[in-house]
């Protein structure tokens, strides 16, 4: 299955494909700000090879350090993996964004060793979610609560079912829809998001809190909201669809 993302708005909601792009942009700005403001030690970061100079100048001006780790080829839509770089074709630099050189070195070494615990800690992920990711990613590279299906309630901060299309509050895959650590971290992310664009951040939060049907089968996940249907490539469940009917939940303690 080739990489792809498709967003099909419902009648009356034509503006949603571009709105989702704005939400994705807001999330990426927040990722950057979370390091800049010292809420976490590092972020993963991607720089197009044609924009290296401008990006490096901005990063330097913000008192941050970008450490390139590898090149990656381009892809259509959402990526679960880094793609090999083909000679002569565009690529981007994948690396880590940190505040200190020491953190950059720790991250680089952890990346070299594939030490997810250290990487997860530096990225500000809860320990429980790092452990979940380490356990599940090798057997399912799109590990949305792999033991769950049917009706599911949880925190909007933990909802990663729309991340392929842009909206997400946090950068990690939560271990459970009710992960309290994710909710706490998510509240910080949401605060930063609101500082950047309060209206859009609130709208994204409402979207992640609202009912969603996430339906994964034969290598394509189809996610339906009140406003659009989104499709993208994913782990190929073969025998039957795995469907999560997200009921959402807002601000429950």
């Amino acid at each position: 299955m080739k990489d792809f993302v498709r967003i099909i708005p419902k009648q009356g909601f034509e503006e949603w494909p571009s709105k989702l792009g704005e939400m994705g942009h807001l999330y990426h700005l927040t990722e950057y700000e979370m390091v800049k403001k010292g809420y976490r030690a590092a972020a993963t970061y991607h720089i197009d090879y044609m924009r290296l100079i401008e990006e490096m100048e901005k990063i330097k001006k913000d008192g941050l350090i970008f450490t390139p780790l590898r090149k990656s080829g381009y892809y259509q839509g959402f990526a679960h993996f880094h793609h090999p770089v083909k000679p002569g074709e565009p690529f981007f630099w994948y690396g880590c964004l940190t505040k200190t050189q020491k953190d950059a070195e720790i991250f680089k070494e952890a990346d070299r060793k594939g030490d997810h615990k250290i990487i997860g800690k530096m990225l500000g992920y809860p320990d429980c979610c790092v452990e979940y990711f380490e356990r599940m990613f090798p057997i399912n590279y799109d590990p949305i609560w792999v033991d769950l299906e049917g009706e599911v309630e949880g925190y909007p901060e933990a909802n990663q079912m729309l991340r392929y299309f842009g909206p997400r509050i946090t950068s990690h895959l939560s271990c459970s829809p009710n992960c309290k650590a994710t909710k706490e971290i998510g509240q910080i992310w949401f605060k930063i998001m609101k500082e950047l664009n309060e209206k859009l951040a609130q709208e994204m939060y409402e979207l992640l809190a609202a009912p969603i049907v996430w339906n994964s089968y034969h290598g394509v996940v189809q996610v339906e909201t009140s406003y659009f249907v989104g499709l993208t490539h994913t782990f190929p469940y073969l025998e039957k669809p795995r469907i999560i009917y997200w009921k959402g939940r807002k601000n429950k303690k």
């Binding site: 099909i8 419902k10 990526a79 993996f81 090798p138 190929p236 025998e239 669809p241």
Partner: protein
């Protein structure tokens, strides 16, 4: 409508003739203005002298949904029992007419009814009328069981072949085997863009074929993608796909609106019927020494796919970027 003036236009419903006549006329007149002709698909029960005048005036191609005279049309109800007279009248008036016949228990549930249906096909042949023979779907009490459905269609295929009656799906199945253009059912549909059918709704919204779009109205995706074909080509047949099917390039998994479990990521549940018909006409083409064009059955990247089937992804990228899970990396 002006935006789509290069496409063949037809007024569809529900039943379009329940609209006020002046509205029907307005739409047909606009089609005529844009294309020099017009089209409508109707159950035919409301066609009267006014509409006949209208159809002649706007050179309307009239598609009638009609399953045969009298009891043959029980599936559609008594109001349609005498539509054979309407069909005759339209032809007599020189109006281009075609028919969609739904094959159900009403017209093919018994050998006696099937015989009557075949006789009606001969009558239509005399009138120069053909069309489509579609399997009944979505009405379980009228749908034929799979074994009977295949038996009926093979019988009709033989009948049409012997008498040179050119009805779809038979003509399309032959075209599929020959690699020629055929009905969208066998052309590899993208259910989110349906290039073979552009639907203009009452509020001016553009959507895709309503057969694939019944539960909620999605707007049309502007670009056709081959996602469904990719899925079906890679998925083994025992799991709803078409992998290694001999007739893949003639069929492409059929219409997504008739997909197994109503999930477009599966092939059509009518697969056994289509396979039987492809086999029948493949034999016919072979007999007349016209070899069907059947490229190798779909079997792409067998080794890689087998790994995925067993959930083995450990050697295709993990460790490369466990946290590099992103959508739009250029934004920051």
């Amino acid at each position: 409508m002006e935006e789509f003036k290069d496409l063949e236009m037809s007024l569809h419903g529900g039943e379009p003739l329940v609209m006020p006549k002046k509205d029907v006329e307005r739409i047909l007149a606009k089609m005529y203005e844009l294309q020099g002709r017009s089209g409508i698909q109707t159950n035919g029960t409301l066609i009267d002298e006014d509409y006949i005048r209208m159809f002649k005036r706007y050179k309307t191609n009239v598609g009638i949904s009609f399953d045969g005279p009298g009891e043959l049309s029980e599936f559609r109800g008594p109001k349609t029992f005498n539509l054979d007279k309407t069909v005759k009248r339209l032809v007599k008036e020189g109006i281009s007419t075609s028919i969609i016949i739904v094959i159900s228990k009403s017209n093919a549930g018994t050998d006696e009814r099937l015989k009557k249906l075949k006789n009606y096909l001969l009558e239509l042949e005399k009138l120069g009328v053909t069309g489509r023979l579609n399997p009944c779907a979505g009405a379980p009490e009228y749908e034929l069981e799979e074994k009977r459905l295949i038996e009926v269609y093979l019988d009709l295929a033989k009948f049409c072949l012997e008498r040179n009656l050119r009805w779809s799906p038979f003509t399309d199945i032959v075209h599929g085997l020959q690699g020629k253009d055929r009905v969208c059912t066998f052309s590899g549909c993208d259910p989110f863009s349906t290039p073979s059918a552009t639907v203009l709704l009452g509020d001016g919204s553009i959507t895709n074929c309503m057969r694939t779009n019944q539960e909620h109205v999605l707007l049309r995706h502007p670009a056709k993608m081959d996602i469904r074909s990719e899925i079906l080509a890679e998925t083994p047949q025992e799991y709803g796909g078409c992998k290694n099917c001999k007739y893949w390039t003639a069929c492409y998994g059929g219409c997504p609106s008739a997909a197994i479990n109503r999930d477009w990521r599966n092939r059509t549940y009518l697969c056994p019927l289509w396979k039987a018909l492809f086999q029948f006409f493949e034999n016919v083409l072979s007999f007349v020494e016209y070899s069907p064009i059947l490229p190798r059955a779909c079997a792409q990247d067998q080794e890689g796919i087998q790994n995925r089937e067993h959930g083995d992804w450990t050697n295709i990228g993990h460790g490369d970027s466990p946290h590099g899970d992103w959508f739009n990396h250029q934004d920051s």
